[in-house]
Symmetry: C2
Subunit: 377 residues, 2 copies
């Protein structure tokens, strides 16, 4: 660890000289006068403080000639209206709260990125809170969004470990759309957007049964509604196709949001004992499959040169951004994160604008998944 | 795509009956009266509105007997003080702004998670904004944090593509700590916390030279200060060890934040032409190495059974959470994301509390990396 004053550190720095500095100098020369408060602004541009205040709450609330005068003057000064002051008395704060269960998961970051892009396009500010896999932090995030008077919220809930009172409180106080998975006790007036797990699991089970032995199912560690729905869909589909369903024995392994580590350790133990080494394993999500593939490779169970059946096959669910980079690349079904994000945003905007009042029937929208055939199955 | 009213959808839902509902019912019975405004609160608990207002701005500003009275009363009602109203006139808003360059990157999410945990412990609210790899969105994030009067900001800048005026504006108006990489034109009064790239690159180059052919370097697509510092460190170390430095030819490939895709396409082309197939490739970060390993496996260049040298070796930089799940598992040097996050938070708190005034010498803290020897090199 090194702690340096900048003067010492500068010597070893390697920036390309001049880059940025020229632009910088140019801007510095044209710098606008800095205005810190609305009072200063009022005297600088000769518009009364109450008028300015009304303008910042709602530009349409002042005469159009005044609006033009203010907007022309604002070009000439460096003034940032205070976010809190302009929003405190508004009916709408322009804030959308988003809660995701866990940050280090590229499916959730893909979803979040798409939500943020949709919000930017609709001129909303997104306040994101992560539950970090912890019900107390999820409840804390709920209180934060309530205290900020967010116009609405998009929530991917923890699931079984969520505090139902916190979820109910959020739902009672804000327009709310759940994404990805449903809370275990779904409030009556809340909307949901996600993947049609029944269709996605049917697709992959059907494919696996058509091309080799029927799959055993590797469950997600935490029971959220996806894990339950995918498990139920697996049972249903196996029955329909006349196969005996089977689950990978979890053997008391600790639940954790470290899905890759969970699957790796579990299957490493099984493969060491010679179990499942020639099975077809359908993982409830791709992060589990990434851990499973690593365990299989550690035991040299994928043998591209030895093509005699039955050989180990592993499949996943999600089309995680890195699943195509696995060896072998992962066969999976894709969730359409941008479509889910955009639909959630549209549904929330409908509620916020009260096109669909809070007490109207809750809406549900699910998207179909598509097969992504690669080499792992 | 399916759009259903909840009444229809309910039929096919698979929740475990009763779960949560019992708890829920229990809480519902004890529900506290809901108070929506400070006026309502004032009459409900017989404390004047100005006193309540002072209490929510700063609990220490009212007499201790009044404080006790208010706090006892607050236990009996359901009231959430408005986040904006209580912060508008405070010197400190309790907000820390964080800007990261890109969301779908598990190094940044690890950093973000550690920052959020540190902020929760210090009772701060983190407002995170992603630049989504776009300078205009980075500048928008800067304006957002300024308008919110955040107490300070922790910024991982885009780098070469950043708008220097936006970075300068943020630095001039808020206590600011840069993490991960330095902006191309570093403001004089800004602090920095990151990895000691000179040490980390020396460590991995030395190891690779000791155990096989000297490495060629695969640069990051975007030139941020890390890419420049790691490149310079590579040149220095190769010279010191008496080797000729060499860079993987980028052949005009488009810059992109999709690092895995960038490296995969580049090396797939090289391997198809038979170049670098027996090289030792040091990648500027692990996301590049993940793409490089996939390209190598596509061409069957890792042959665990054929041990004759020289064989292809690939090494990375970061210890990305998934690097251990690659096949072969990635040899790399680790960045200590939690240490960087905690140091950045401590440094920012020092500035915010004015223990270290804004015009004092800027501080720098860098952390050493550790070798993570796995099978890829």
């Amino acid at each position: 660890m090194m702690l340096l004053l900048r003067s010492l550190a500068r010597a070893s720095m390697t920036f390309r000289p001049g880059m940025g500095a020229a632009k910088d100098g140019g801007r510095r020369a044209m710098r606008k006068p800095k205005i810190n408060t609305m009072e200063e602004l009022s005297s600088a541009i000769s518009v009364s403080r109450p008028t300015l205040s009304r303008y910042f709450q709602d530009p349409e609330s002042v005469r159009s000639s005044t609006r033009t005068k203010i907007e022309t003057a604002l070009q000439r000064v460096d003034y940032v209206p205070n976010f809190f002051a302009t929003r405190m008395n508004r009916k709408a704060t322009g804030l959308i709260g988003v809660i995701i269960p866990y940050l280090n998961d590229l499916f959730y970051t893909s979803l979040l990125e798409a939500i943020e892009r949709a919000a930017i396009a609709a001129d909303y500010t997104v306040i994101t809170q992560s539950s970090h896999g912890d019900a107390a932090l999820e409840a804390r995030a709920v209180e934060k969004l309530l205290s900020m008077n967010a116009d609405g919220a998009i929530v991917a809930p923890l699931g079984a470990s969520s505090d139902p009172a916190a979820i109910e409180r959020l739902s009672a106080n804000l327009p709310l759309v759940f994404v990805d998975s449903r809370p275990i006790s779904m409030p009556d007036n809340a909307d949901f957007v996600g993947t049609d797990n029944r269709q996605s699991i049917r697709l992959i089970v059907e494919y696996l049964c058509r091309t080799g032995p029927a799959p055993v199912f590797l469950r997600m560690p935490r029971l959220n509604s996806n894990s339950q729905e995918r498990e139920a869909a697996y049972l249903r589909e196996m029955e329909r196709l006349g196969h005996e369903p089977a689950f990978v024995e979890a053997g008391g392994q600790q639940d954790s949001w470290d899905f890759e580590g969970f699957a790796y350790e579990l299957l490493d133990r099984h493969f060491s004992h010679g179990t499942y080494t020639k099975a077809t394993i359908l993982c409830a999500n791709d992060r589990l499959a990434i851990g499973a593939i690593r365990a299989a490779n550690r035991h040299r169970l994928f043998r591209p040169d030895a093509r005699e059946a039955p050989a180990l096959r592993i499949a996943g669910h999600d089309d995680h951004p890195l699943s195509r980079y696995m060896t072998p690349p992962l066969t999976t079904v894709s969730q359409d994160a941008p479509a889910i994000a955009n639909a959630a945003m549209r549904m929330l905007m409908q509620r916020v604008r009260a096109d669909a009042p809070r007490d109207a029937s809750a809406m549900e929208q699910t998207f179909e998944a598509a097969l992504r055939l690669r080499d792992s199955a």
